[in-house]
């Protein structure tokens, strides 16, 4: 049976952060009906895909999954385990925010899941306030303490490039590492149109460090994390060996995944789909096929390009034999022009193509040149 990742989107948040352009809103009164719908969707797809897949990763993301009332996450996980074929060493992650995490939720997650990803973003109160986060430093530290004292694998999400000094940013990084997290996601801040932050930057209310500064930050984070024993395994992800996020690795290696809930994306049988973004459409549908849109049917060539584009994000790079086996092409031949132009930035061996560490953050240009 083919391995499958499940993504479940929980679109509720107490308030919208200034930088957020993802699907989330504060209609907390709809949480129950949403959860019930999600349980139906789980049953629907489990039935539809019966016998074809074995679920080895589950990611409950958001929004803020930890905002769900006590017991919901367990219900969701139970439904998955009851309906799908689930691998024994399945990774089950739930995203949480510090302000909605308490002893009871942590104990619920200990039973239902085995990994928690905590949206810390920063440990600097001033910064947290500017970007509109609902928690402060103390809440974040308390949540980290609660989590790291359990057997749960813990990730802390941080944002690089916030409107703060380099030192402030690095203090947050060492702060969370000192708490004993074994996985760190350090995302560069993106300023998207339509967000509050976009207007703040446009109106000059808020100044952000430029790309060079963020590159500097990444380099600092790289050396800081390695001092704590974490290795970078993907552009923005650092982990102790064995603590990598299997679910996210699935995205980069093009493993099949099924997204459920509002706006969730799927990759199944070389087609990409996504669910409706309308909460009422989702809640009212009686046919889950009708709320799914085909994004792209991928040709072999598309798949190959995706493999390159996603594979180069990994420190481990692209494994030539894997590509050869899957597509019957020798990547060194197929993209010889781009590869020779990129000789300075690529590390090419007989087995693998990797982007050299110092060029990791110019990946976009590298990919464009590579596929040219």
């Amino acid at each position: 049976m083919e391995k499958l990742g499940l993504y479940l989107h929980i679109p509720f948040c107490r308030s919208k952060c200034a930088y957020c352009d993802f699907l989330s809103f504060p209609n907390l009164d709809r949480m129950e009906s949403y959860k019930n719908k999600l349980l139906l969707e789980i049953a629907y797809y489990a039935d539809k895909l019966k016998g074809e897949y074995i679920v080895d990763t589950v990611f409950i993301g958001g929004g803020t999954p930890s905002i769900l009332p006590l017991g919901y996450v367990s219900e969701i996980v139970d439904a998955i385990c009851k309906n799908f074929t689930v691998a024994s060493e399945v990774e089950i992650t739930v995203e949480s925010n510090p302000e909605s995490l308490d002893v009871d939720k942590v104990s619920e997650y200990q039973n239902a899941c085995n990994r928690v990803s905590l949206g810390v973003q920063s440990l600097n109160n001033k910064t947290l306030k500017i970007i509109g986060r609902a928690h402060d430093e103390n809440q974040a530290r308390r949540a980290l303490e609660l989590l790291t004292n359990t057997n749960l694998k813990v990730n802390a999400d941080l944002i690089l490039g916030l409107p703060e000094s380099e030192d402030d940013c690095l203090r947050s990084v060492s702060g969370v590492l000192d708490c004993g997290v074994k996985h760190l996601s350090a995302y560069g801040l993106g300023v998207e149109k339509g967000t509050k932050l976009f207007d703040m930057v446009k109106d000059g209310v808020c100044t952000l460090p430029d790309g060079d500064r963020v590159a500097d930050l990444y380099n600092e984070v790289l050396s800081l994390t390695s001092r704590y024993g974490l290795e970078r395994y993907e552009v923005s992800n650092f982990a102790h060996p064995g603590y990598e996020c299997k679910h996210n690795l699935g995205y980069w290696t093009r493993k099949s995944y099924l997204g459920m809930g509002l706006g969730a994306h799927s990759l199944l049988q070389n087609a990409r789909f996504y669910n409706t973004s309308s909460l009422s459409d989702y809640l009212n549908t009686i046919n889950f096929d009708e709320i799914k849109t085909l994004d792209a049917k991928l040709s072999k060539e598309d798949e190959l390009e995706e493999s390159v584009m996603l594979g180069l994000r990994l420190s481990d790079g692209i494994t030539l034999s894997v590509i050869k086996e899957r597509f019957g092409v020798d990547i060194l031949d197929k993209y010889s022009k781009g590869i020779s132009k990129l000789s300075k930035v690529l590390d090419v061996t007989e087995e693998k193509i990797r982007v050299k560490k110092e060029y990791f953050y110019t990946l976009n240009s590298i990919i464009v040149e590579f596929l040219d």
Partner: protein
């Protein structure tokens, strides 16, 4: 003088932009009933989109009107004139085809400096100037003030002047009265050998190149053989006619008439504006005075943004050339831009018009290189060559000396800007020749200036120094020896031929620095550091660096939304496609144009 010519009036309209020339023309046409108001498209005479949008007339479109005055029927031929310095010669030929000019003065704006240029041009052509005051319906109209300006500035009598609102159709009858009463009738000799002045031409797919003419002496009809006095080429006339305003064939054109001649002429170049048409047999040996060959003065490379569209660009230029004899082009190859054309234009506006037409009418993305003038290069071996493409300049050691075209520039400005403008002219290597105060509100400054300074950024600077009030007119006066050098731009060590320019030695450092700085802003950061150098003959005079790009990665992948990432990458790919490779450097198309933008 014949009775027939007594009933003909040939005239044009002189007006400042926005003072209502086109509206007045429309109204005259409507009033005399050539075109019913139902069929009127606003501003009938301006036929091209670009003209209409910019509110300026480039192509002349004559029209013949009939008007009954005091019981007699008159033929009124209105010849429209373009209003820009690039087309001064065309204007002068149109004026030469008339006996009089209507001068439109805006009741609230008064006499504008730019109008004066054309008024003087009309006076030089011995035209009777008939003023009228337009826009009298505006609340801000100051009729007495406008009258006073006409009397003081131009020295014309304003007794009984027509007071008009072309927009509202007021006073049109008075204008027609003035045209008949004040403008002299033509006085050609119908029995003399044919002399027809070509004042415009255009290419018709069926009839070939059609000459718009004013018959000065004699007559012409279908079937006769004509000769172009200057080229000596002969053609058989297939059709003659008048402007209705569409072409309307007639039996013959005689002295005093304005009309067209079709003679299966394959190329508009054989119907040069200003040339005289006569009969091949028994024609005149004395062509009309004032002929000048339309000579391109400004040159630039035009390349398709998409290199594979070279042949399409060629077709487009050929099509434009059918109706625009002043446009010249020949193939050229650039290491940076690939295959394209070196094009010659009458001036900067002409260049802009061609660029815009290529982009709009032919839907082309083009890259234009920095405009250049044509230099005379005297080589040490005694040869002389003309160079309009900087990359064709011979090695410094082979050059004895060089000459550049110079112009006589006339600048009209309110007196308070005289200081800054003179400063600007000095800065642009101008040599002061004269200044006169036309009245208390206007001065005319004359400078001798190198053309290559004018085509760079002079006009923009002039406008900014005078808050938009100053206007410029210039005429080429000849060539002058000058200390010129070729300024090369190197990107990552490679010379980018499309960015080379020829500049005066004293300007080279400043230009080099400014180009390098501008390029630094338009060339996007790439994976490697890119040195930008400006160099003269191998000696680097300015250097900037585009730092290596350090971060462009898309950090997060939310819930497996890969498509979003792919779209961003697609966009980046598209962006890269639009860039030109100069050695290892990707250069955006804008870079080749940006260096034209003037220094703030």
């Amino acid at each position: 003088m014949s009775k027939r010519q007594d009933k003909i009036r040939n005239f044009c309209i002189v007006a400042h932009i926005d003072h209502g020339k086109s509206t007045l023309a429309d109204r005259l046409i409507e009033y005399t009933g050539v075109v019913s108001s139902r069929d009127m498209e606003a501003q009938l005479l301006d036929s091209m989109d670009i003209e209409r949008e910019r509110g300026i007339t480039i192509k002349l479109q004559p029209v013949r009107m009939f008007y009954n005055y005091n019981g007699e029927e008159y033929i009124l031929n209105l010849i429209d004139t373009p209003g820009h310095v690039d087309f001064t010669y065309e204007v002068s030929r149109s004026l030469a085809a008339c006996e009089g000019a209507l001068l439109v003065v805006d009741a609230s704006q008064g006499v504008e400096a730019q109008t004066l240029t054309n008024v003087y041009l009309a006076m030089d052509n011995d035209l009777e100037i008939v003023p009228l005051i337009n826009k009298i319906d505006l609340p801000s109209a100051d009729i007495e003030g406008a009258k006073k300006e006409i009397e003081d500035i131009i020295g014309l009598d304003t007794d009984g002047i027509a007071l008009v609102s072309a927009k509202e159709g007021i006073g049109i009858e008075d204008v027609l009265r003035d045209v008949i009463e004040k403008i002299p009738a033509p006085q050609g000799d119908e029995n003399a050998p044919l002399k027809a002045l070509i004042f415009d031409s255009y290419y018709d797919n069926y009839k070939g190149a059609i000459s718009f003419v004013r018959i000065v002496d004699g007559e012409v009809r279908a079937g006769v053989k004509i000769k172009m006095c200057h080229s000596g080429k002969e053609f058989d006339v297939t059709e003659v006619g008048v402007f209705n305003p569409k072409l309307l064939p007639c039996e013959k054109l005689s002295a005093g008439d304005v009309g067209y001649i079709a003679a299966s002429i394959k190329n508009v170049k054989d119907t040069s504006v200003g040339d005289t048409i006569t009969l091949a047999e028994g024609g005149t040996s004395e062509p009309l005075p004032g002929y000048k060959e339309a000579k391109p003065m400004v040159f630039s490379g035009i390349y398709p943004a998409d290199g594979s569209k070279y042949n399409d660009l060629k077709d487009a230029l050929e099509k434009l050339n059918l109706n625009d004899a002043a446009l010249v082009f020949e193939p050229e190859v650039s290491a940076a831009l690939g295959f394209g054309f070196r094009c010659g234009f009458l001036g900067l506006l002409h260049m802009e018009i061609i660029e815009e037409r290529l982009e709009r009418e032919f839907d082309f993305d083009i890259i234009t290189t920095s405009p250049s003038v044509s230099y005379l290069v005297y080589k040490t071996n005694g040869e002389m060559m003309e160079v309009a493409n900087p990359s064709h300049l011979p090695a410094v050691t082979e050059i004895d000396y060089m000459e550049e075209p110079v112009v006589k520039a006339y600048i009209y400005t309110p007196p308070e800007y005289v200081g800054p403008i003179m400063e600007l002219c000095q800065e642009k290597r101008g040599i002061y020749t004269d200044m006169t105060y036309i009245d208390s509100g206007r001065a005319r400054i004359e400078y001798e200036m190198p053309l290559n300074e004018i085509i760079y950024d002079f006009f923009d600077s002039l406008k900014s120094k005078s808050r938009g009030y100053a206007s410029l007119d210039y005429e080429i006066t000849g060539y002058k020896r000058s200390e010129l050098v070729k300024l090369d731009i190197l990107l990552n060590g490679d010379v980018c031929d499309a960015l080379s320019i020829i500049v005066h030695k004293d300007k080279a450092y400043a230009r080099g620095r400014s180009i390098a700085e501008k390029l630094k802003d338009v060339i996007p950061r790439q994976m490697f550091e890119i040195p930008i150098q400006a160099a003269i003959g191998g000696k680097v005079i300015a250097r900037e660096t585009v730092k290596a790009m350090r971060k462009d990665v898309l950090a997060k992948c939310y819930g497996g939304d890969i498509t979003r990432k792919k779209k961003l990458l697609e966009k980046q790919k598209e962006g890269k496609k639009r860039m030109r490779q100069v050695g290892s450097v990707s250069v955006p198309s804008e870079a080749f144009m940006t260096i034209l933008k003037f220094d703030k």
